[in-house]
Every structure is written in C-alpha cells, then in structure tokens.
Amino acid sequence: MRLFYLLGYAAIAVFGYGVYVQIRKYRRGAALKLDGSFRARLGDMIGKVLSHSTIARRDPAAGAAHRLIFYGFALLFIGTSTITLQYDILEPLFGIRFWQGKFYLVFSLVLDVAGVALVGGLVYMMYRRRWLRLPKLDYARPDRAPGDPDFDRPQYRREDWAFLWILLVIGCTGYLLEAARLVWLQARPDVWDTRWWSPVGALIAQACRALGMAEHGGALLRHGLWWFHGLLALAFIALIPFTKVKHIFTSAASLMVRDPQAAQRLPRIPESQAQAGVAKITDFNWKQLLNLDACTKCGRCHEACPARAVGAPLSPRDVILSLRDFAKATLESGAIPEAAELDVHGKAPGQVAQETLWSCRTCMACVEICPVAVEHVPVIVQMRRKLVEDGAMDPLLTKTLQTIHKTGNSFGESKRKRAAWTKGLPFPVKDARKEPVDVLWFVGDYASFDPRNQKVTRTFATLLHEAGVDFGILFESESNAGNDVRRVGEEGLYELLANANVAAMAGASFKTVVTTDPHSYNTIRNEYPDFGGRYEIQHYTSFVKQLFADGKLRVTSPLTYRTTFHDPCHLGRFNKGYEAPRDVLKLLGCELVEMGRSRANSFCCGAGGGRIWIPDPIGSEKPAQNRIKEAAAIPDLDVYVVSCPKDLTMFEDALKTTGNEGKFVVKELIELIREAIPVHRPEEVPA
C-alpha cells in the first residue's frame, strides 16, 4: 500500500512537471493582454464545455459520444477523488466519513452508469475511427508529398488509439474490480445484498460465480486487478501534460481566451514592435501557443476549408499541428534554441511553407467551426505579414499592392475615375464632402471600377433615388477600404488606406454608412474603430429590407424564380448577416432553395484574403467552380443570387468555366430587386 502511495506521488510529480513545462512553453510566447472580464470568459467557457454545443455542431454523433465520455469520465473522476478525499484527508485528519449508507449506494449507482457512458462513448469513437473512415480524420497532408517525414503522421494515429484503449481498459477493469470485490465479499450481507446498486459489477459478479469463481478467487483477482487498474490510472494522470489528453485543460483554456472577433478584426502591429508579423515561433503570443495545444485534430477546419477542398496545399488543421510540433520541439526543453532554429517559415517538418500561407482565403470557415476556439486566420495573417515584409509573394500581388499604394484602388485607375459610374445617371449623385447627407454610400473598388459591377452600382443608385433616400458618395476621396490588403498581410498599406478613409469620412456629414461590398462593410464596421472611425454601418441587404418595411420600396411585379443564395463570407460568417438577404428574396416572391453549405458553413468563392489578386494554379479547380457545381445540383434552378461585387465576378466566371451557362444565371440581389420594381416609363415619372 505504501508503494502505491509512492507511485501516486510520483505520478502527480510527473504531472506537475509536465504542467510546468507546458506553461513555460506558453510563457515563452509574446505577451498579450486580453480584454473583457475574466468572469464572463469563465462563464462562456463553462457553458460551452457543459453543453458541448461547439463539439456537436455539424457532427452530432461525435458530439453525443464525446458527451458520454466527458460526463462519464468527469463523474468517475469526481467519485474517485472524493474517495481519496475521505480516505486520505478528511477521515484521518478530522474523522469525517461520508462514504456510507444511502449516499454510498446512490453514488455507486451513479458511477456505474457513468462507467457505461464512458465505455459506450469510447466504443463509438473506436467504431468511428476504424469503420467510418471519415476523410477529416485522415492525417495525410495536402501541403506535403507522400514520403515526406511529416506527410501522414502515423504517430498521431497511434496516440489516438492508445488514448482510447487506455481509457477503455481503465473503465473495464473498474467493473471487473467491482465484480471481483462482490465475489470476494459475497458472504457479507451489507455488500452482497446491496450489489444491484452497482448493476454492471453485479452482473459480472453473477457471471463469475456461474463460471465457478469463489471468494478466494475473487480476492486474488481483485488484488491483481487493483494494481493493474491503479497503475494504469496513475500512468494516465502522469501522461496528461505530455499527450493529447492535455486537451482536457488546453481546450477549455482556449475556449476561455477566445476572441469572438478573431478574424473580423485583425490585430494592429504595436508601435514598439520593429518587425511586422511572425518570423519565429516565439513571435506568436502565449494565447496562440495555447491554441496550438488545444487542437484535438477533429478535422472540422480541414473539412470546411475551401482551399483544401480544391486541392490547394493548405489545411488549417495542419498549419496548427505543424506549428504545434514545432513549438513542442523547440520550446519544451530547458533552454530556448538559437533564433535561427526558431524560424517557422520553410519546408522542414514543423515549418509552414509560403504556398500554404498564400493559399488561404481568410474566409474564416476554420475559425468559425473550431470546437475549441483555435483562431487560425490571425495565425496565418501574422505569418503573411512577415512574407510581405520579405517580398515573398506572387509578382502579381506585389504589383497590385504597389498599384493600390499609388492610386488608392486595385484597378490602377485614376482616383478621378472612381465616380465615373455616376455618369449617365438621370439624376446627380450628391458629393458627401460638400453637402450633408443622411446616408454615406461607401462604394468600394469593385463596385466602382469593374464594368459588370458598375451596372449593379448604377441600379442601386437608382433604387435609392426612387426610394427617396438622401445619399451621397465621397468621389475621389474614397480609397480601397483595405479589408483584403490587411488580410494579405500588408499592414502598413492597410493603415494608410484606413487612415485615408477615416479622414475622408471625417470631412463628410452623414448619419449612417451603407455599402454594397461586404469586404468594405467588415473592415469599416470592425476595424476602423481602432483607427478612430466609429460609424453606424449597414450592408445594403439590411438597409433595403428596411426600405421595404417602411414602404419606401414596393414590389410591383413579384418574381417567380427558383433561387439559391450564396452567403458572402464577410456578410455571413463574419458579421452574421444571414437573414436580411433571404428576407428580401422572399419579399420579391422568389422561391429560396438552400445549398447544403449555407449560412455559417457557406463556401468561399475563393476571392478573399487577397486571393482575387493572385492567379489560381492552371488546371486546378477553383473554389467558385466547386460552389457553382453545388448549386447546379439544385433541380430547375433559375438564379444563383449573390450580394457581393467580388462574388458576382467570381461566380459569373465560374458559371462559364463549369459549362453551366444557360442552365441558370448569376445575379446580384440588387438586380432582382430592380426586376421586381420595374422602372416607370418616363411619362409616369412625377415632375
């Protein structure tokens, strides 16, 4: 018995050392001050852990099984701990005993049921790994080739199985122990007569007796098993900080430090920091290092990633796991290696390659679905900042950034031409810099300069005019909003653009901002406040919905189209603008058929994160094509509705290149509104 205590202390010491090593690793990251109250964060985390809401999303079976394991394990752990509490602390010190009588019996029953839950959950997880063969649980990496040392990482699989088996064996031997004790003490009525309070143990005990086991055999079995079970449990505890078991702590902690605006509002580079972005593993902040360890390899980000879906060399899961392996190799030993060995950029195991970072669309699908609040997008953008600083990017992207710097727009057009789309409108568009307006329309680059989108822009202007909205624009004082420039990682250029726009808007008098561009919408709404620009801003979809509600716009010839709606990343996932466009579609009379991937799970068109300025590899499928094929599976679809200028460009192109032209059309919601409210003939226009 004394030996067991010794081993117990040893296990706890190993556990304690492991925790120290992990915490030391996180503390080797850069500093970060969290905002928000500790209590709110704690409450949020506990709610998510207890409800399993994030784990059950898009995979309810895994959620249910994990819930069984979690609650089973938690109850058994609490049960065992309270036994220790009484046996080793309360009773010897204070003579308090609570493990007796009715309480003891009820607790036996609860723990027995908890054991069933644990074993059941584990068995399902084994079934899931072995027989369901889910692609998201395949560790083969899209950013490595077969034969590379870290291509499919069989050590991960071994760890997964060892984890499941150890827990299963601990659970099963617990039952056997219980049964052996019953057989051993069957002569004691206080034991034997209450045996059905631990029903599983009792059943096994009955079976043992039927097989001829007697008291002596029970005692022997119990003694042997007790040591086996105990040692296994101690080993499990000792190994927690060194294995995936640590997710019990790291995932919970990660949920607690979650930033709900992680992808929507990227961090500024502090004035005091000379270097931009992340070059070394220690440039990540402690929270990001913790994020790496929180990952449970569940593969949901891998599944949701549009770049991964079209075969690009990126899986958000593998970016995180690579960096995690890197941090483990470099930051867990006593001394931190030389700076040169901390470089996270490159192709060696643990490093992240340029092509991987440039494949990201910053669409936020990974961040949004991660059950443990890993924030991939800021990690990727921080690494891109370093690439931009080194000029390690596609030549076309370099050119576009230079163009934006020079002209303030990505089209390389003269500033003076920004409002050229207003020419030919039968009414003047107000200059918000010169006269006060109710609504400042931030037009954005694509809506201003792209010829196809200019038509939509003119249509929207006409609708506003007809609805009697007092609106104006900033003419040549408007610059590219910078949303995508920031996501490329050109933070200096972003600061320039944001400051220019904030200054331009400061020179105008308006009540609210409206934009048709979800990218501009996101950065103005979520990021300009960091630059002193605080506005009330709406995407046009919610603004138009209000115009309908107020009777300023009225559907005069309802549409009968069968439509599907594509949620733009920056309107939907980023800013939860799911309902307004759907409501407007219904107001127009359209039938709406949802695609499989919609709302939070909407599939990026591939243009985000600056990818619209980087050519896709020739011959590979583009995300927009993948998406159009999904829509094409809807029978009798008439219109694929978008509400983002870049979407219009991307999907009209994909419609042609996938050979779906003629089957259905891609339209801006604005164009459908126009159709449902036909223009008055000139003689009907009131003077």
Binding site: V388, E389, G391, S414, R416, E490, G492
Partner: protein, 266 residues
C-alpha cells in the same frame, strides 16, 4: 566602397490631364509620381551586390529634384539603400538631361564611388542620355543597357552582358570605376512594404546645394542645357480607313491617299 545609384521621380499621366500655362509640359497637378521603373532595377542590382559582398558596401541613392522627390528616395532607403542624397536649387528648374548629368557627375566626384548605376532611360522623358552624359562629364568608362552584371565591390574590373539585336549577347569587361545604365529584367526588384517605407522616413536625406558641389547657376537650368523643350502637345488623332472594292478600286483609292499626303493637289 560605395555604389552610387542615380534615381529619378517620374511622372505618369492621370486621366484627363491639362497642359501647363506655358504649353511646355503637363500641369503637375495631373501627374501620378513614382520611382522610375529602370531605377528600381539598378537600385536592386546595387543592393544585391552589397548583400553578397563580404566587405562593407554603401549604396547611395541620388536624385536631382525638389523636396517632393524625397518620397522616391525614401522608397530607395526602404529597399536597402544606406544613404540618400538629393540635390536641388531653384536654378536647376528647366534642366535637360545634360545639365542633370553635370550635377550627377559633381555628386559622383564628391562621393567617389567604385561604380555608378543609372537606369537605361526614364519612363516619362525617354532621353536615355543622363547616365551616359554623367560618364562623359566624369570621363569614366561607361556602358549602356546592361542586362547581367558580375561585379565584386572594390575589384578593378567588372564583367557584364548586353543584349544586342538578333538575339546576340555582348560580354564586356570594363575598368572601374565606371558608369553603367541598367536594363529592365536584370533582377527582380524587391517589394518595399509600407512599413519599411515608413521606417525609412526616420533615416535622413542629405540635401546638397549647387555650392556644395562647386557648381554655379550657369551650369544648370536652361543656361546649362544643350536643348530646350519648345512645346508639348497632343498630335491630331490619326485616321484609319478600310479600303473596300476590287483590286483596281483599292489601288485607285490608295493612290489618291498617297497623293493627298504628298500634298499634290493635282
């Protein structure tokens, strides 16, 4: 050891421009200004030589122009130039490439570099003479349109390649110090991030006057120039005409057009 890189802030036309009142240039309000594309390559070449060198090399960017030229010099500092020098005096206004070359040559004497780089030409004026004229004032060896260069800082000679007509390559050895004008495509110029440009703003730009260079007002401006722009204008739009009909009719119409152009009214 120093490499002197002569750079120019060039002007690109904005949409719908207007001419200056004297009709000799475009109204400066309608310019979009940037670093001359060729100079981007020559600066990159100098910075690459510096980065590959085991001995210390100072890359000095020099430009002749008023204070708004600081913007391109800061870009050069952001891309790796160690120092930036700007020469200006109101008398320099109106200088042609020869007068500018006289100023650059004075700077080269002042700095005593092992090598001077200039772009083959500027994208706005396209004289392609500033670099070579600078060599003439210095009486140094020179070469134009260099498309590959092998030069170790401090070496007595450098070897470079020039592309000739018909796909021929010219490999030449030259005595140093020399003046080379650099062709596009010799390297891949690096991207100067906005942060690096901002950080470069902290580095000083040395401003030299004519007296600092022992030059007088007579050496520059129109007085020191060998040529003078008389006017700048948009030519009348050319016309195109599709000649239809059979061969005889086409030939007849063609002959008529030729006569018209020759001015034969007969």
């Amino acid at each position: 050891m120093k490499i002197l890189v002569a750079v120019k802030q060039v002007a690109a036309l904005d949409e719908d421009f207007e001419f200056r009142d004297d009709g000799r240039d475009v109204d400066p309000d309608f310019f979009i200004r940037d670093l001359n594309e060729w100079d981007d390559f020559s600066l990159e070449e100098a910075v690459k030589i510096k980065e590959a060198s085991s001995t210390p090399v100072d890359v000095v960017a020099v430009s002749v122009g008023p204070d708004d030229v600081d913007e391109v010099l800061r870009k050069c500092l952001a891309k790796g130039a160690d120092r930036a020098v700007r020469v200006w005096d109101d008398a320099i206004e109106g200088s042609d490439p020869i007068a500018i070359a006289r100023v650059l040559a004075a700077v080269a004497k002042h700095e005593a570099p092992g090598m001077v780089f200039a772009g083959v030409q500027s994208s706005d004026q396209s004289f392609a003479s500033t670099g070579i004229a600078t060599a003439a004032f210095l009486d140094w060896p020179h070469a134009a349109v260099v498309s590959a260069l092998n030069y170790a800082p401090g070496a007595k000679t450098a070897v470079f390649r020039r592309e000739l007509e018909g796909g021929l390559l010219h490999e030449v050895e030259i005595q140093c110090p020399a003046v080379l004008t650099i062709q596009l495509g010799i390297n891949t110029p690096r991207y100067a991030s906005l942060r690096s440009i901002k950080q470069a703003a902290a580095k000083p730009i040395e401003v030299l006057s004519l007296t600092d260079l022992s030059l007088s007002a007579a050496d520059v401006g129109e007085a020191g120039s060998a040529s003078r722009v008389r006017r700048m204008y948009m030519p009348d739009k050319g016309r195109a005409e599709l000649i239809e009909g059979d061969a005889a009719a086409q030939a007849e119409r063609l002959a008529a057009i030729i006569r018209e152009f020759k001015g034969d009214s007969a």
